[in-house]
Amino acid sequence: MKRPLAVSVVGLLLAAAGIAAAQQDLAAYVSGDRRSGFTFLAPETRALQTDEFRNPGMLWVEEGERLWSVAPPGGQSCAGCHKDAAVSMKGVAASYPAYDEEQKHVINLEQQINQCRGRQKQPALAWESRELLALTAYVGRQSLGMPVAVKIDGPAAQSFARGKEEYEMRRGQLDLSCAACHESQVGAKLRAEVISQGQMNGFPIYRQLWQTMGSSHRMIAWCNEAVRAETYPAGSQEYVDLELYAKWRGRGLPVETPAVRR
């Protein structure tokens, strides 16, 4: 089949423009040498995340929005103290995990939400419960697009150091550390899956494999088990420290909550 040369050239130019446009779209998901998991996804999965209606995680965000103003019996609603989340929660998720004066250690966003519930004499919400995922996703969404910026000095320094140690420690029957894959083998393949940098800027995430939302600690536990290692419980200080270190690795990446991942 012969085509006029001019048509082919135009086609090539259009294709090049298309590739440039795609790369430009991804530029927002890169900061220095840090690349969001978003950049490792197939275009269809990326489209599922960026379409606010189709992104299934938005079901949890909207649920969180409803829960935000539901006052429990004998207590305040989130809105009772924090008013408009769009104002009061802007940037919060980008800065968690963070040192907590009350607990005297670093806590993550889920733990902060449960600490607030405690003040209102409400029982803590269970990890991976629909309510906790919804509230975390709603609070996270208020930082959409804001750069991840966690504090790692001062009272958070110890936690950060422990987290780095956890990150680099080989574990499990496969004797792999987080770093063994997510630093040394980024871009390589595990069967058909491309290894990402393991960035944590989009939690809670809607994961295709889970077919539901999951917390940062569920993801870490999943990875631990994938290398046949013992897991720590969700909310353990080990996982909070690890989350702080992993979040710092992705400093400058935009908050994508609720991110869609494989």
Binding site: F53, R54, L59
Partner: protein, 107 residues
């Protein structure tokens, strides 16, 4: 707890215009082929039917099977005929149902 739903209906449309309607519901769509770590299969639990009504008249219906992804999403179209209510109904095989509705002003 009621299942969370989200719907998209244009607020206004011109008579005769084709409107895109979208609907999504929080639901596991358990297909019956998923095994728990104890070796037992999770029983089938799905939304089996989705219906859209425009001022009470059915304009779209879908029988859904376990081959539909979790948190079922549907996009389809209907022609704007008159102002009124567009209703979305999801029938769950546990006997429950969910309804969400929005109004459209047709000029």
């Amino acid at each position: 707890m009621a299942a969370a739903t989200r719907i998209r209906v244009p607020a206004t449309a011109r008579r005769g215009e084709i409107m895109e309607l979208r609907a999504i519901i929080m639901h596991p769509m358990e297909n019956g082929f998923r095994m728990e770590t104890n070796g037992e299969y999770v029983p089938v639990h799905i939304i089996h039917t989705f219906v859209c009504r425009y001022n009470g008249a059915e304009v779209f219906r879908a029988r859904l099977e376990p081959g539909i992804a979790a948190n079922p999403y549907l996009a389809f179209t209907t022609r704007a005929t008159e102002s009124g209510t567009i209703e979305f109904i999801w029938l769950d095989d546990d006997g429950t149902f969910e309804v969400a509705a929005a109004t459209v002003e047709v000029t």
